[in-house]
Symmetry: C2
Subunit: 128 residues, 2 copies
């Protein structure tokens, strides 16, 4: 993929941060990492696919929960070492902890405070 | 700083990605990296401060251009290994290449295309 090759994966051991933003509301939903293969899969399938640093393998967001991210637009920055994807989030929430966005903690008076209610019960989705 | 210590800087050699989002428009302006010291400076000063991987030192965004990012809100994600800052961008553009956002390239038919006009002339700001 020509577009894959033009991204700079060298600064971060083969990875680039990938910001997922709701295409309708503008809310930032999550940040993951992609290697070249994950980026290529994302472009080819139209579903956001990441490289899991903890599991050391590719994972399509939603492969367990069904909460896939449908890609609407892909942008990169001046240094081509980060991508920003506008997505449509399928399902009630992106975060595996049950929230609409993974960014549900806000700094308030020097401490992290949960700033919203859960959008779904994660046990109903992730526990079998 | 208690809040600094609760962030997970270990996954990425002391760094976390820091997403800058315009507090008024919701546009993602840039993504940088912070180490614990940069995060602490950001909280203390109210201006977004990063760790430059290429220069291996802290830099306050706007220290050369004057285009500082005034912090309005700080959030972190479920894994506490990324931060999302809502900011007010001072000056005409965040990107050192003259654009309002660093994400001025969009994937179109398999190639990166510049998707907007410059907001200012970078030579007038960065060249002395």
């Amino acid at each position: 993929m020509g577009t894959t090759m033009q991204l700079d994966f060298d600064k971060l051991d083969g990875l680039i941060p990938a910001v997922m933003q709701d295409h309708a509301t503008g809310r930032v939903l999550m940040v993951g990492f992609m290697n070249a293969e994950a980026f290529q899969k994302t472009v080819e399938t139209g579903y956001a696919t990441f490289f899991s640093r903890s599991r050391n393998k590719l994972w399509m967001k939603g492969e367990t929960s069904g909460h896939r991210l449908v890609v609407k637009e892909i942008a990169t920055d001046c240094d081509r070492d980060t991508v920003l994807l506008k997505v449509e989030a399928l399902g009630p929430g992106v975060c595996h902890e049950g929230y609409a966005s993974c960014f549900f903690r806000r700094l308030e008076n020097g401490a992290w405070a949960i700033s919203e209610a859960r959008a779904y019960d994660p046990e109903s989705v992730y526990t079998k």
